[in-house]
Every structure is written in C-alpha cells, then in structure tokens.
C-alpha cells in the first residue's frame, strides 16, 4: 500500500477520530453541564462527529490519496 | 530604405561571422548575445528580420519567437531560426512558434545570404 501524504493524512484522521471517540479524550465531555442548553456529552459527540465528517470531506474532495 | 537585421546568438565567434556577412550584404546590423537582450533589441530597433539562434541563455530562441509573434506591435518582422539541432521535431517546433524559416548549422554563407535576401525582398 502506498504511503503517500494522502494516505498518511487519512490514517492520521482515523487515529484522531479513534482517540476522540474513546477513553481518554471522551472523559472531557463527561461533565453534567450544558452546551447551548443541550446536554454536554451527546452534543459534544455530535459536534466532533460533524467536524470529523467535514475533515474527511475536505481530504477526499481535494484529492488526497491519489492512486 | 535599408533594411535592418538583428543577429541573436550566444556564441561570439558566430556573431562575428554573421555580422560580417550581413554587413557585406548591405543590411544594417545590430547584435544580441542572449534571449533577453534579443527581445529588448527587437522592441528598441524594430528590425525587419531577426537571425535567431535557438540555444541561448535567458530565453531560448523559441521563447523569443513566440513572444515576438504574440505582440501585435511587432507584426511583420521576419524570423529566421538557426540551430545546430536539426531533427524534424525541432523544425516543426520552430515553425510552430511562428518562424518564417529554419536553417541548420553549420550553414553555407551563400545559402544564408540568399535566404535573407528572399525574406527581405
């Protein structure tokens, strides 16, 4: 598998996503406060999710990982 | 009115011989030693014909010719390209950028003089 800059960025995004959605980093969102009136944990998860999708969209549409 | 000829070549010895030849033919001669100088001289002197070497530092002969042809104010100037390269692709490329003629080196002085006379008639 070629390890060009495009693939490296995808891998990096994968690991960042994995970290954000798992143990150490998710603890940040465990508090019982609210964000814009919405409960923190689910809202934060959705926002991170949306950002991940946007990042992926940028990488894909800009031609990352050319063959 | 006497026609003006500009000679552009980076080899000083070739410049010397061409200058002598063109003067002998009775044209008014100016010289340039590289592509950039050549373009400047063209703009300044408005020669009627340019003897243009292809392999020159600065801008190559092809680039000079293309720039010349792209400029409306310089229309009507004849271009005769000279080069040691003689492959078909080079000839085609030369004619493609708008040269009026193409001669390979080493050339015969008689032929060159005749060609120039033809173009300036």
């Amino acid at each position: 598998m070629r390890r060009g800059p495009g693939y490296q960025r995808l891998l990096a995004l994968f690991f960042v996503g994995g970290l954000l959605f798992n143990f150490p980093l998710m603890r940040i969102f465990e508090q019982d406060t609210s964000l814009f009136g919405l409960p923190l944990l689910p809202t934060a998860l959705f926002i991170v999710w949306a950002l991940l999708i946007v990042a992926l969209a940028l990488l894909m549409e800009r031609g990352a990982g050319e063959d | 009115m006497t026609k003006k000829v500009l000679i552009a070549d980076d080899e000083p010895n070739i410049l010397i011989s061409l200058e002598f030849l063109m003067k002998r033919e009775g044209w008014l001669v100016s010289v340039a030693r590289d592509g950039i100088e050549a373009l400047a001289a063209i703009h300044r002197e408005r020669p009627d014909l340019v003897l243009l070497d292809v392999m020159m530092p600065g801008k190559s002969g092809f680039e000079v010719c293309a720039a010349l042809r792209a400029d409306e104010s310089l229309a009507g100037i004849k271009v005769l390209m000279l080069t040691a390269k003689g492959r078909d692709t080079d000839v085609a490329q030369g004619l493609g950028v708008g040269a009026d003629g193409y001669m390979t080196k080493p050339f015969s002085t008689k032929e060159l003089a005749a060609r120039v006379r033809e173009m300036l008639a």
């Binding site: 495009g6 996503g17 143990f23 998710m26 999708i53 | 070739i14 002598f20 040691a84």
Partner: protein
C-alpha cells in the same frame, strides 16, 4: 387506525419501490444507467440503517442515553479509510469477478470450496438474528398502529395466525421479485440499488419529520425539551453518563460497528459488488457518514421526548417514533413513520437476503451439486435461480423461527449486535488476505472455525438459553457451565468476568480467530495456488500484476466456450468470447489460442456466476492442467518483473543515448559553424583587409582547437566508461605532481590576474611499509588537476581572484582540494555540474569549455578508488575536492 389503511399504505409504498427498481432496470438495459452516480452509491450504503435505527436506537437512547451512538460512529471511522481499503476491495472484486464475501475469502485462499462453504454458513447463521430483529420491529409497529399492544406481538396465538409470519413471507416475495428475475454473471442488480437509494431518502425524511415534530410540535425546541428533561430526575439520569462509564464496552461497540459496515453481507453487496465506479468511493466516504449523522440527530430528542410525554416505564420506548404522533393526535405522521420504518426493514431484508442467497447458492449448494455427475453435464441457469429463491424464503422463515424462539428476551439492539459479532469473524481472514501475502488457507479456515465456534458458544447459546425456550436446565448452562464445568461458562469463559457479554464474546472470538490465522499461516507456508492468489490480491494496485496468469496446461477453445455457455447461456458465452477475441485483434473465436490467458478469462467469467471455487472446479474438469509448484509461481513472477526491469533499463539507455547524441552533435556543430562561415567569408572576399583576415584566421584556428579538444574528450569519456581506456600506472609523488600542475597553469592565472596558492605538507609518505603509497596514472591525475585548476581560474573574479591548491593526508589516503573565491555554485546545480555537457556558472557568461571536464575527472578519480565532490555556498566560493586512497597490498593485481 384500521389495518386496511395501514396495509394499503404499506403495499402502495412497496409497489412504488418496485416501480423504481423496474424503471432503473429498464434504463440500465437501454444503456442509460441511473445508478452511475456517486450520490446514489452513497445513499445505497444507507441500507446500513434498518429498523434498528428507527426503533432500536430510540429504545436504547431512552434507556442509556448516548449508547446508541457507537453503532454509527464506528462506520464513520471506518469510512475514513474507505479510499484505500474499500477501493482495494472493489478493485480486487472487479478484477477477479468476485460477487460475495464468501467468494472473496475463498478466492484469496486458493479458491477453496471448503472456505467458501464455511464463510457462507457463518454469514447465514449470523444474519438470522438480524432478520428476526426486523420482523420483530415491523410486527410491533404494526400492532401498535392497529391499536393492539406492541409488547407481545403474535406470540400467544398459533403460528399460522401470526401476522409476523405473513410479513416474513411478504418480504420474501418482494425480495424474489427484486433480485432473482434473471442471472447476471456480474451479480449486479441495478434496480435494487436504485430502490435502496430511494428508500434511504424516504426513511431519512420520515425520521426527521417525526424528530422535528417532537422538538417543535410537542415542545418548544430542543433546548426546552432538554431543560424539562433535566427537571425530571429519572429522565435526567439517562442523559448523564454513568459514574464509571464503561469505556471498554464503548470501544467494543465501536470496533464491532466498524467491522460490520463492511462485512455484513448487505454492506459488501452495495459497497463492493454493486459499485459502478471506484471513484465514487471518494464522495461516499464522507457522504455516507453525513447521512448517518443526519438520521441520528433526532434519536435522543425523540427518546427523551417520549419519556417525558409518557413517563418512564409506561410505554415501550422502541416505538416512540410511532406512539408519540399517535398520542399527540397526528396519526398521518405516525403512518409516515410506519412507512419509513417498514422501508428501513424491507431494504435490509431485500439486500441481505439477495446477498446471502447468492452465497448459499454459489458457495454451498453448487459445489455439492457439481460433484454429482448427473448435474455436472446439464444446463443450469434455471436450477441456479430456483436455488436462490428457495434460500430467500428459507432465510426469512429462519428469521421468523428465531424471532419466536429468542425474540422475546432481548431488546432489538442486543439481537442485532449478535449478528455484528458473527460477521466480525471475517475480519482477520479478509483484511489479512488483502495485505499479507503470508496468510494461508489453513490459517484462515482455523481462524474462522474457532471464531465462529466461540461466537456461537458465547453469544448465540446464551441468547437462546435466556429466552427460556429450551427449558430450565439450559438456563443453568449460564450459571454453572456445561456439565458443571465452571470455566466453560458461555458468558465467563476461563473465568474472565467483569465484561459485558458482548465485549467478552468479541474478545475471545477475535483472539482465537486472529491468533489461529496468524499462527497457522506462519507455521506452514502457502501452497502454490494460495501464493499465486495472494500475489494477485495483495498486489492488485501494481500495474505489473494485471497480466499475470498462473496456469499451465492444455485446453480446447470449444470446450471452454461450451462450459461457460452452460452457466451463462450459449448466446452470452459466445458474445463474451467474441469480445475477447476482438480485443486481441482476432476475427473469430476459432482463431483464439487455447492458452493460459484464455483459460483464465473463461474461469473469471464463470466465477461471476457460480463463485470462484466452483468455477475452478468446472474449468479443471474440461482442461488438462499441470499442477503448479510454488517454484513455478515464483518463477512466473520473477520472469515478469525481470522482463519489466530489463525493458525499463533498455528504454532509459535508449533515451540516454539520444540525449548524448543530441548534446554531442550540438557541441560539435557550434565550432564547425564558425569555421565554415569564416572560411567562406574569407574565400569570397579576396580583398579583405589584413587585420580583419588575421582576426578571422585566428578564430578559425581557435575553433579548430576547440573542436579537436571536444572530439578527444568525447572519445576519452567513451573509452573510460566502456572500460577500454589505457592506464599507465606508476609510483606517484603527489607533491611533485601538484607543483607541476601549478606551473602549467601559471600563465592562465597570470592572464586572469588571479593568484594561485599552493599548500603542501612537508612530506607525503612515499612508502608505506615496503610498498609505494600511491600507484596511479600520473597523466590522468594531472588531467584532473588541470581541469579543476582551469575551472577555478575561469570563475574567479577579475580583481583579487584567489585559488588555493591544498593537499592533506591521513591514514586512509590523500585529499586534494581546489578552493576558489568565485561566485560559488547554488545548491540545485551542485549535482548538475558533474553531468555531461552541463556547464556551471552564470548562464549568461559561460566561458569556453566543453562541459565534459568534470565528468571525465570524476571517472578518473573513481577508477582509482577515490571520490570527487563539490562543497560550495553561493557568494562564498567553491571547493572542488577529490580523495585517493593509499594503495593496498593487493591493489596491484586488481587494477588494470
């Protein structure tokens, strides 16, 4: 609501879907496909969201808050890697006509029929709970809509009065209509894909409609909804993460969902088999996660809204999406939601059933049938279709049975997760097969078997036991283990407690699976067939593998054509072969050579219809094949790559020759031009004045010298490079040599007004021990020195130019440096100056030279075992240096 209205709406919707499918199929037949579009491809992946999303997620959210999310976060993470991984799968499948997961795995590991069957069985059994889940959801929904209680659908009654059964049969019928109207050897179902994409849109819009209604119809917006939730402690508890958040379980769910989004048969079908163009993966990689996000936004609001509206523990949260609109007096919205949920379930069932039936037909039933002589000779298209239809009905009936047996005990989501864990077992063999050439059939088979067995033991068995269907003694299985053996307890194997049953099952099954896969693969190397398949799979992106065929033997064209005809129909077979012949430039099929490439072609076409394992078997039956050994495989690979290598080298040498020819002729013609022109001018002007004539003659002479220098150098270079140069070695006195060189160039430096400084050590060891320190060709070394010195002289400034010639020695050898204070050489050009015919320095003032001096000097120095290099910074001068190692005792013999 009246059953008639609901059934009517449902049927109308299903017929509309079928209409979309039929329309798309017609368009495809006319050559104007509607599905050749990245958005349709992305939407078709939405089949991942089933009744689970509609009902199960809401139920899960109402009980545990965010725990419905990992099922959708996992696929998002997986899609980040879609471009490399999914694309490789698509490429492989396209190249080798793979039409199912079973085929993929079987084909990779030596086209093994046993593996194909094994994977099919796992897929079949694994998918049954998932189908049951859809049936359960639809029947609950139906019961709710018609005013019955949604909690006990159909169970008290006899099975023939059970509406769920009829739903199952109805779905089976639709699936048959959708997917088995004809046999396509690419297994593409354009109509189905179009219908699935449409259905994705419908279910998304319906769910969002309900969500909007709950947020803004029943409450005053999400902020209001959650504020009110916080005021009610039982509801607030749902939103607050537990004190010790079970991160291990969260991780397990993420991992599981990540794997399932590819390995569920329906996902593999839409993502890989139905893919039209690889490049669509680019768009789908982010569009599909975006779809998942959109459809999940309102899950939590609906769940919380339902809890607030009905109070906790009052109504079944799984059907909030229907009960809320019904209770709030908007039944038409409930009907829309019902249609959405039905749509989700139907989509899943159709695609899953088609995928599984293909697998069962090609990889389970067919290999068994073909072993029997009677079948091996007949025309089989009709039979294949019949088998597939039977499997579809069978699968749905099995789903119904599971629903009756075990559907009561578990929430919807838990049932679905059992299926996820089953298909996750494909991961080691499939992903390993794509990237590791060392994976073997033995390893894959053992891994799959162990993983499946552990899955069955730790997940399937408990689910049946917990439902109480098999009696109480089965229940003791869970608490005490089989025959009282505690450490074999299904949910606490080897005493591993403290994990929820899913993580526990996942851990053990994947551990055994991956462990056996790797272990057995490393234990014994792959067979020839496995190795060749491994190469084809792992290297599918390398262009070289495109033409490789690993086969030797004899075949007849007619046999191959008729074989293919038996499975694809005679006309289709003839047209395929004709197309192949035309591509090779032949006129007709008779003109084809029955070579390895043709056999490969025939086998590939067949594989599309009956799977690669069966195709292998069938082709083997009509050809005479030589068994390939592993060495043969390796040799075929080496030949191909060596040929490529040799070819590339030839091309580059050819180009090099052209370049050199071009440079040399140019360099030679330039002085010739002046010589000829000036000579002619002098000839034609007998009355030329004397000074002018002298000048011209001077130029002629100089140019002639330049020309002969050039010719000599070109010859020199050619001789050195081709190894034909003559070397006259003698004992070298370096100090004397350098002093001589300085003397020779003294005039040159004086002309330039520059100074030359010599820095020499007092003495240079002339001897080391008994032998002379340096033996080399003195003339050649002088040539190098003169070259470097004259270069330096050319480039130093007119005023204050200074060149230093320095000699230093150490234990290894001597180093000679020529340091000048000229303009220096920019970094980009420092390599270029050593190339032929390149001249450094400011291009506008290139001094006289040939451009060959440095390359020749380098060749000479390297001939004597030394190195020539340049150290320079623009504006700070340059230092050309070369080193010569001391002679060793044996150098005398090795040097020419």
């Amino acid at each position: 609501m009246s059953p008639a209205l609901i059934i009517g709406a449902a049927l109308a919707y299903l017929l509309a879907l079928f209409g979309v499918a039929a329309w798309a199929d017609r368009r495809a037949a006319a050559g104007r496909s509607v599905i050749g579009n990245a958005w349709v491809y992305a939407l078709s992946m939405g089949v991942y969201c089933t009744a689970w999303t509609y009902f199960g997620s809401v139920g899960r959210a109402a009980a545990t808050g965010v725990w419905f999310l990992p099922i959708y976060l996992g696929p998002t993470l997986a899609m980040v890697l879609a471009w490399p991984v999914l694309r490789k799968m698509i490429r492989i499948s396209r190249a080798y006509r793979i039409t199912s997961i079973a085929d993929f795995i079987a084909s990779r590991y030596g086209k093994s029929a046993a593996l194909a069957g094994g994977v099919t069985l796992i897929a079949l059994v694994g998918v049954v709970p998932y189908v049951a889940l859809q049936l359960k959801a639809v029947s609950s929904a139906y019961a709710l809509m018609t005013g019955g209680s949604p909690d006990a659908p159909g169970l008290p009654g006899a099975w023939w009065a059970d509406t769920t059964l009829y739903i199952a049969l109805l779905l089976a019928g639709f699936t048959i209509l959708f997917g088995t109207r004809h046999l396509d050897n690419t297994e593409r179902h354009e109509g189905m894909v179009a219908a699935i994409a449409a259905e994705s849109v419908v279910k998304l819009l319906a769910f969002i409609a309900v969500g909007v209604f709950v947020c803004w119809g029943l409450f005053n917006g999400p902020a209001d909804l959650f504020a009110r939730a916080r005021a009610v402690p039982e509801v607030a508890r749902v939103l607050q993460p537990a004190a010790r958040f079970a991160y291990d379980q969260w991780f397990a769910l993420l991992l599981l969902a990540m794997l399932s989004v590819i390995f569920l048969p329906r996902q593999f079908q839409v993502m890989v088999v139905e893919n039209v163009d690889e490049r669509h993966v680019r768009r789908a990689a982010w569009a599909f996660p975006a779809y998942l996000l959109l459809i999940n936004i309102f899950v939590l609001p609906i769940a919380v809204g339902g809890l607030l509206f009905f109070g906790t523990g009052q109504a079944n949260p799984e059907t909030f999406v229907l009960s809320l609109p019904l209770a709030a007096g908007v039944p038409w919205l409930a009907l829309v939601a019902f249609v959405g949920g039905l749509s989700a379930a139907t989509g899943m069932v159709i695609v899953e059933a088609i995928a599984v039936s293909t697998m069962v037909c090609n990889d389970l039933v067919l290999p068994l049938l073909l072993r029997r002589k009677a079948f091996a000779q007949r025309e089989l298209t009709g039979l294949l279709l019949g088998i597939r239809r039977a499997v579809i009905v069978g699968l749905l009936l099995l789903g119904y049975v599971y629903f009756r047996v075990a559907g009561e005990a578990y929430a919807l989501v838990s049932i679905g997760l059992i299926s996820f864990a089953a298909v996750a077992q494909f991961a080691p063999a499939l992903l390993g097969g794509m990237y590791w050439k060392g994976g073997t059939q033995r390893g894959a088979f053992a891994g799959l078997a162990a993983g499946a067995a552990l899955w069955a033991w730790t997940l399937m068995v408990p689910s049946i036991a917990k439902s109480g269907w098999l009696g109480d003694d089965f229940a003791t299985l869970l608490t005490h283990g089989p025959w009282g053996i505690g450490w074999l307890r299904p949910e606490q194997l080897l005493g591993l407690g403290g994990l929820d049953n899913l993580s526990h099952a996942l851990f053990w099954s994947l551990l055994a699976n991956a462990g056996l896969y790797v272990g057995l693969s490393l234990w014994k190397p792959p067979s020839a067939r496995e190795a060749s398949q491994a190469l084809l799979f792992v290297d599918v992106f390398e262009r070289a593998s495109a033409g490789r065929v690993f086969w030797r033997g004899r075949a007849r064209v007619a046999d191959l054509v008729s074989l293919v005809g038996r499975f694809l129909g005679p006309e289709r077979a003839t047209s395929l072969f004709l197309g192949y012949a035309r591509r090779l430039g032949r006129q007709g099929v008779e003109q084809l050579d029955a070579d390895a490439a043709l056999v490969h072609f025939a086998e590939t076409q067949l594989a599309g219809a009956i799977g690669s394992a069966s195709a292998r078997v069938m082709v083997a039956s009509v050809v005479e094949e030589e068994v390939l050994e592993i060495d043969d495989v390796m040799r075929i690979v080496e030949e191909a790559s060596e040929l490529r290598h040799v070819n590339e080298r030839l091309l580059s040498l050819d180009r090099l020759k052209d370049d050199i020819m071009s440079s040399v002729t140019h360099e030679l013609r330039t002085p010739l031009t002046s010589i000829r022109a000036l000579a002619e001018l002098m000839r034609d002007a007998p009355d030329m004045d004397e000074p002018q004539r002298q000048q011209f003659l001077g130029i002629v002479v100089t140019e002639t010298e330049r020309l002969s220098r050039l010719v000599n150098q070109v010859l020199d270079m050619a001789k050195i490079e081709s190894g034909h140069a003559e070397w006259h070695n003698s004992d070298i006195d370096l100090r004397a040599l350098l002093q001589q060189a300085a003397l020779s160039t003294a005039e040159l430096f004086r002309e330039r007004g520059a100074t030359l400084v010599l820095t020499l050590p007092e003495s240079v060891p002339a001897l080391r021990g008994e032998l002379p320190a340096l033996r080399a060709d003195a003339d050649r070394l002088t040539q190098v020195l003169l070259n470097l010195l004259s270069n330096a002289a050319k480039f130093v400034p007119r005023e204050g130019g200074r060149v230093e010639l320095r000699l230093t020695t150490d234990a290894l050898g001597a180093t000679i440096e020529v340091i000048d204070n000229g303009p220096g050489v920019p970094l980009e050009q420092q390599q270029l100056v050593f190339e032929k015919f390149r001249q450094g320095g400011d291009a506008a003032h290139r001094p006289q030279g040939t451009g060959l001096g440095l390359p020749i000097s380098r060749q000479i120095v390297e001939h004597f075992g030394g190195r020539l290099w340049l150290r320079s910074e623009p504006g700070a001068g340059s230092c050309f240096a070369f080193s010569l190692p001391w002679a060793g005792p044996k150098d005398e013999e090795t040097r020419p």
